[in-house]
């Protein structure tokens, strides 16, 4: 399997009033295509910050990130938007679905952003078809017209996974996707991720739960902004 992502010497700090909070101190890691990697660490260890930087939601203060030979740390914000839209799928702990849109609309949201108004009319049917398939696959075929607040936590997270996959991203980033769910529902979400990985989806997940982490192919441990194993 080829390498899809490589991060070298990543540093990141935030200003908190007059103080500077250093979160990442020279993180080095890589990810191969088709891998299911989990980053574990205690609260405040910098897991989510690393995930955001790898997913081009944030920029490192120092260091390089290569995604398929593309230098993310040197990209303009416009190209980063495009990159995030096409190559990355995000799944968040708190689902982050838009309450104004129903399940189907939430799922096709990234595809609509990717297409633009004119192209959208041409590809609308194909995208909707793909959204139906994804929602059927994760068991939400009956909930297409429901609003997020009408769904359970597990259903919302499944809808968020479908949204993350609509543009067929090369990398799925999951930030504590089971953190807000009971264990049974959480394992259900994990099963979906494992199934996706078996079908070839590269996944990078953040969790603080070792039991969940053990389900992944590789575990990266983060402590005080550094990878320790």
């Amino acid at each position: 399997m080829g390498q899809i992502l490589q991060a070298k010497n990543i540093h990141k700090s935030y200003r908190m009033g007059k103080q500077t909070l250093t979160v990442l101190r020279g993180v080095e890691m890589s990810l191969s295509e088709g891998e299911f990697v989990v980053i574990v660490g205690s609260s405040g260890s910098g897991k989510s910050t690393l995930l955001h930087i790898l997913g081009a939601l944030d920029k490192p203060d120092k260091g390089t990130i290569e995604f398929n030979s593309l230098r993310l740390d040197q990209m303009s914000s416009g190209r980063l938007n495009q990159f995030r839209n096409r190559q990355i799928g995000f799944v968040f702990q708190f689902y982050h679905l838009l309450d104004e849109l129903n399940v189907l609309e939430n799922v096709i949201l990234p595809a609509m952003i990717a297409a633009g108004p004119v192209t959208w009319l041409g590809c609308k049917k194909t995208v909707r078809q793909r959204a139906f398939q994804l929602l059927e696959r994760i068991g939400l075929a009956e909930r297409l017209k429901h609003k997020p607040y009408e769904l359970s936590g597990g259903e919302r997270q499944r809808a968020a996974i479908a949204r993350a996959l609509i543009n067929q991203p090369r990398l799925l980033l999951a930030d504590e996707p089971t953190g807000n769910l009971d264990s049974k529902t959480g394992y259900g979400i994990l099963d979906i991720l494992k199934e996706l990985n078996q079908q070839g989806q590269t996944i990078l997940m953040v969790t603080h739960d070792d039991r969940i982490a053990r389900q992944a192919g590789r575990i990266i441990r983060l402590s005080d902004g550094k990878i320790v194993s």
């Binding site: 944030d58 938007n81 968040f92 309450d99 949201l109």
Partner: protein, 449 residues
Amino acid sequence: MIGLKLSWRYFWHRRISILAVASVALCVFIVVIVMSVMNGLAGDFKEKCHRFVGDCVIRSQSLVGFPYAADFIRELEKQPFVAAASETVQGMGLMTYLGTSFEAGVEYVGIDPQKYSEVTNFAKTLQYHADKPENAFVPPDVPELDGCVLGIDLILLRSDTGEYSPSSRPFLLRVNISGFPLNPKGGFARAGTDTVSSKTFYYSDHIHSGLVRPDGGMVYIPLRQARLLSGMDSPIERSSTIHIRFADGVTAEDGTEKVRQHWREFMQSCRGKPYAEMLDSVGVQTWRQDRREWIAPMDKEKMMLALLFLMLGIVTVFIICVVFYMIIGHKSRDLGILKSVGMSSPSVAAVFLGFAGIVGIVGTILGTASGCLFLWKINDMENWLYNHYGWRVWDRSIYAIDQIPNAVEWSTLMWVAVCAMGACLVGALIPSIQAASKSPVRILQISQI
């Protein structure tokens, strides 16, 4: 596409949108009503002024008038751009109704009613001789004597409702007018007991021009009688004004400029004639310039209202701005989500500007529709208020209007709509740009907390 959809959904699902729409609609409603009424009043007043004096006025600055008006009128009537011209003699006098104690200071105007009606709307304002203005000064009961035409407020009482009390035609009412005849140099034309010149006329008609001064303080009398009263009959016949109506298609400004050229040439041709120096005090003006003393206060009020409503517009922008800050504050999590799935900052700003646009469109439509509806029924409502509570916006015994003008001008509506839309977009611009420039990571981290 998604931007428009989200704008619409935000609009439809947020109760705060109602507040934004209400504030826009209310401002549009008020501006449409006030501007329409004010434009109606100003437009109506200017039109009355225009019809009252014709397109162009040649007026002497002096009380003693100017000579050779008839000669210049003959010259003017040869010009294709002139449709009609008529001279007047004007002076101040004291009017008394014989047999009563009624006395009033008036401005008497000597005219040839036939010719004057060709230039102005004098005939149309007459009560009894609208079809035959040449008989305006012929009292039906004593046709051999001179009649006079009074301003309506000098002969009839105006009620609170703006209606004049019906009166039988007081054709045997004798009106005495006293004036001071002046010689060409401005001195009294006669000495001793003849200093004041008095003439008695029979009431023959009255005018209702809708203008306060003519209706309340003017008396029209035959031209030759006015000359006798003012002393403009000797040693050379003089006039106070020449009123001109231009041919169709000739604007007041263009026509007046041509008249000025002819007047200059006419003055040159009169050099050496007796009293030609009196022509130096004569000015040629458009009706608007001639009536500026009447029109200027109205225009000033209109301008002040426009400024007041500009301030109202600024308040609207502020309200919209506050509303959008509140809305965007509530939707900051959505901004993070949209950015995390690849929406660009301009597109995020466009979502909220689209929202503002929808608020503007809906608010403008509601405000305009309710404003037009209010205007349509404004006189009915005013009448209802008067009938039930005795209250009127404009006391008709004071203001020379019959009804509140309620005609809606499309150009005014267009301007109000464009300004309302602009105010919404300007109000939403800063919050939208601020929202778009927020870091998605920060937003999502905060919303997780």
